[in-house]
Amino acid sequence: MLKAVILIGGPQKGTRFRPLSFEVPKPLFPVAGVPMLQHHIEACSKLPNMKEILLIGFYQPNEEINRFLSCAQQDFKISIRYLQEYAALGTGGGIYHFRDQILSGSPEAFFVMNADVCSEFPLPEMLDFQKEHGDAYSFVILGTTANRKQSLNYGCIVENEQTDEVLHYVEKPSTFVSDIINCGIYLFTPEIFQHIGTVFQKNQQDISPACQSNGWHRAEVIRLEQDIFTALAGQGKLYVYKTDRFWSQIKSAGSAIYASRLYLNQYHTTHPERLATNREGGPKTRGNVYIHPTANIDPTAVLGPNVSIGTGVTIGAGVRVRESIILHGATLQDHSCVLNSIVGWGSTIGKWARVEGTPSDPNPNDPYAKIDSETLFRDGKLTPSITILGCNVNIPSEVIILNSIVLPHKDLNRSFKNQIIL
C-alpha cells in the first residue's frame, strides 16, 4: 500500500509568485489549464496501490483549497486530505509532525513531493528502482541533470555511478559540486522518520530555550535537504533515480508559463482532448493551446503557441495571444496583442493595447538548461521578465505595458515599461 505527501507551503512562502499569489494559493494556480497540484494528484492516482494523498502546508483552510479538495476527490476517486501545520515546519518537520497520519494503514512506502515543481512524475519507475537498489528500507531522490552554472541554485547530488547511491548532498553550494540536481520528489519508507526523529531530538537539545519560540529557530523546523539528506549521504541508505524527462521548478510567474508549455506538450499523450484544434467558427490556433469550454473567442483571433485560456474569458476580433496565460473572466478587446504575459482574473485589455513580457526560458540549445530564477532587480533596474497583470486590472486602449508587474485592482491610464505598478 502506498501514500503520497505533497508539501504545499503557505502564504509566507511563494512570495516570488506575487501578485498572482495574492488571489489564490500558489499550489492552486492554473498551469496548462488546471491547478498546479492537480498534475501531482493525477500522477499519484494512476498508481494502483495509492491509497491516500496528504497535503501538508500552513495555509489557513480556505474556500479555494476546500473546493479544490472536494473536486479532486471526486475526479480521481481517492482520499485526499489537507493537514495544516501550526507553523512553517520545513520540508522535514511537517512530515515528521504528521508521521502518524502518514503511517496509518502501514504503507510500505510513500512519496513526498514539492507542490511547486512541474514534472512528468516517473513514479512507477521510482518504485521499480527502489526495489532494485539498496535494501527494503532505502530512500530514493528523483534527480535530473542541470548545466554546471545553474546547478548551484539547486540541491546537488554526487552519486556512485555503478550503484546509484548518493555519496554526497549539498543544498545550493557556492562552488560546483555536481550537475545532478534534486527534483524535489522523493520516495521514502517509514524508516525515514527514525532519521528525522534523531535530528529532531538533537535540535531540541541544541537550541536554547530562549530561542525556542522564535519562528526561524524553532526546534521543530527540519529541512529534508540540509538536515536529512546531507547526513544520510554515503550511508548506504539514499539513492538517486535520474530522469531525463521534463522537469522544472515553478518559483516565479515566468516559470508558470514555461511549465504550462511542458504540460501542454504532455497533453498530446495524456489528455489530447484538452488541446484546442483549428475548427470552423473557432479561433486559429498555432502549437499547443488550452481553451476552457466556457471561453468566448472570436474566430479571427490567433492563439498560441503555449497559450492557456481560463473559464469565461472573452477574446475579441483580431486578438493575438502567444506564450501567455489568460486567467478566468478576463477580457481581451479587439486587435489587442498579449505576448509572454499572465493576465489576471477579471482583467480587461483595451483595443489595440499591447501587453508584452520578456520570456525567461532556458537556453533551448542546452538540453540541461533550467529556467532561471532571476532576482527581481539587477543593477538597480527591474530585470525584464514576464508581464503580470494582477486581478481586475484595466488596461486602456492603444497603450503598451512592457516587462511590468501591475498589482490587483489597478486602472491604468497610460503606457508603462519596466515598472512595478502598485
Binding site: 486578438v319 493575438r320 502567444r322 486587435h335 499591447r354 492603444e398 512592457l402
Partner: protein, 333 residues
C-alpha cells in the same frame, strides 16, 4: 520674376528617407516637398530655372552662381530654403518688398523655442532688421528666420562666387546698412528637414487643408480628424485612421489597423491589427501583423518588419528586415 530654391545638401537629417531619394523629392503630404513651393510660385507666373553647384557653395554662393539667370531684368527675385513648409505668402512678400524699396526682405515667423534657431531682432513698426542672434541662450526675441527671402538684383554685388553663408556674412552687413527688412509670416510654419519636425509640419499642413480645401481630406466611419488618402490606396475593414495621417499612392492597410500621426509613403503595406503612432513608413515597406510602432520610428525604403514586434523610435535603413523588437530608440543599419 524668378525664384531660386536652394536644394543643395545631402539631406542627412532626413535619413534614412534621403538615402533613397533626394530630399526635395521626398513626398510631404503626398506631394514632393519641392512641388509644394513650385506650385505656389507658378501661381504668380514665376518661371523656373535650374542651377547646379559643382561644389557646395553654402547658402549665399549659389546666388552668385546663378547671377546671370537672376539679373536678366530689374525685377526682384525670391530665394527659398527647400525644407520650409507654410502657406507661402509670395504676393505679400512682393508687395512688402516693393513698399520698403530696399535690397532685401526676410520672412520671419514666431516660434515657441527660438533658441533652437537663428533669431531676428527688428523694429516692430517698420520691420527694419537690427541684428541676428544665432541660437540665443537667453530670450532675445521669438521671431526666427523662416528661410524665405526676396531680394533686389542689386544685392547680388555683395556675394562672391565662393562658399558663403548668407546668414553669417551677407545679412549682417545688409542689416547694418539698413537694407534688410523683416516681414512676419501669418499662419503655420515648419522646417521639415528632420523626421520629428516632418510629422509636426504634416499636422500643421493638414490643419490648413481642413480650413482651405476640406474636400481633399477623407472622412467617414473609421476616419478621425485630418486624414489625407491617395485615391489608389486600399484600406481594410475595422481600421481607425487619424487624426493627422497621410496615406500615399498604392498603400494597402489591412483589416483592424490603427494609424495616428503618421506618413505612409507610396506602395507601403501595413498588415492587419497593427498600431502605428508618429511614424514615417518608407516606400514599399511592409509592416507585419500585430506590430506596434511609435515614437518617430522611420522606416527607409523597402523595410520589412516582422509580425508581432514592438518598434519604439527606430531609425531603419533601406532594405532592412527587422526580426526583433526594438524597445528603445536606436538606429538599425
Amino acid at each position: 520674376m524668378k525664384a531660386l530654391i536652394l536644394v543643395g545638401g545631402y539631406g542627412t537629417r532626413l535619413r534614412p528617407l534621403t538615402l533613397t531619394v533626394p530630399k526635395p523629392l521626398v513626398e510631404f503630404c503626398n506631394k514632393p516637398i519641392l512641388l509644394h513651393q513650385v506650385e505656389a510660385l507658378v501661381k504668380l507666373g514665376i518661371k523656373i530655372s535650374l542651377s547646379h553647384e559643382k561644389e557646395p557653395l553654402g547658402t549665399a554662393g549659389p546666388l552668385a552662381l546663378a547671377r546671370e539667370l537672376l539679373t536678366d531684368n530689374e525685377e526682384p527675385f525670391f530665394v527659398l530654403n527647400s525644407d520650409v513648409i507654410c502657406d507661402f505668402p509670395f504676393d505679400d512678400m512682393l508687395r512688402f518688398h516693393q513698399q520698403q524699396g530696399r535690397e532685401g526682405t526676410i520672412v520671419v515667423t514666431k516660434v515657441e523655442e527660438p533658441s533652437k534657431y537663428g533669431v531676428v531682432v527688428y523694429e516692430g513698426d517698420t520691420g527694419r532688421i537690427h541684428r541676428f542672434v544665432e541660437k540665443p541662450q537667453v530670450f532675445v526675441s521669438n521671431k526666427i528666420n523662416a528661410g524665405m527671402y526676396i531680394f533686389s538684383p542689386a544685392m547680388l554685388r555683395r556675394i562672391q562666387l565662393r562658399p558663403t553663408s548668407i546668414e553669417k556674412e551677407i545679412f549682417p552687413v545688409m542689416a547694418e546698412e539698413g537694407h534688410l527688412y523683416a516681414m512676419e509670416l501669418q499662419g503655420f510654419w515648419m522646417d521639415i528637414g528632420q523626421p520629428k519636425d516632418f510629422l509636426t509640419g504634416m499636422c500643421m499642413y493638414l490643419q490648413s487643408v481642413r480650413q482651405q480645401a476640406p474636400e481633399r481630406l477623407r472622412s467617414g466611419p473609421g476616419f478621425l480628424g485630418n486624414v489625407l488618402v491617395d485615391p489608389t490606396a486600399v484600406i481594410g475593414e475595422n481600421c481607425t485612421i487619424g487624426p493627422n495621417v497621410t496615406i500615399g499612392a498604392g498603400v494597402v492597410l489591412e483589416d483592424g489597423v490603427r494609424v495616428k500621426r503618421c506618413t505612409v509613403l507610396k506602395g507601403a503595406h501595413i498588415r492587419s491589427h497593427s498600431w502605428l503612432e508618429s511614424c514615417i513608413v518608407g516606400w514599399s515597406s511592409s509592416v507585419g501583423q500585430w506590430v506596434r510602432m511609435e515614437n518617430v520610428t522611420v522606416l527607409g525604403e523597402d523595410v520589412i518588419v516582422n509580425d508581432e514586434l514592438y518598434i519604439n523610435g527606430a531609425n531603419v535603413l533601406p532594405h532592412k528586415s527587422i526580426a526583433d523588437s526594438v524597445p528603445e530608440p536606436r538606429i538599425i543599419m
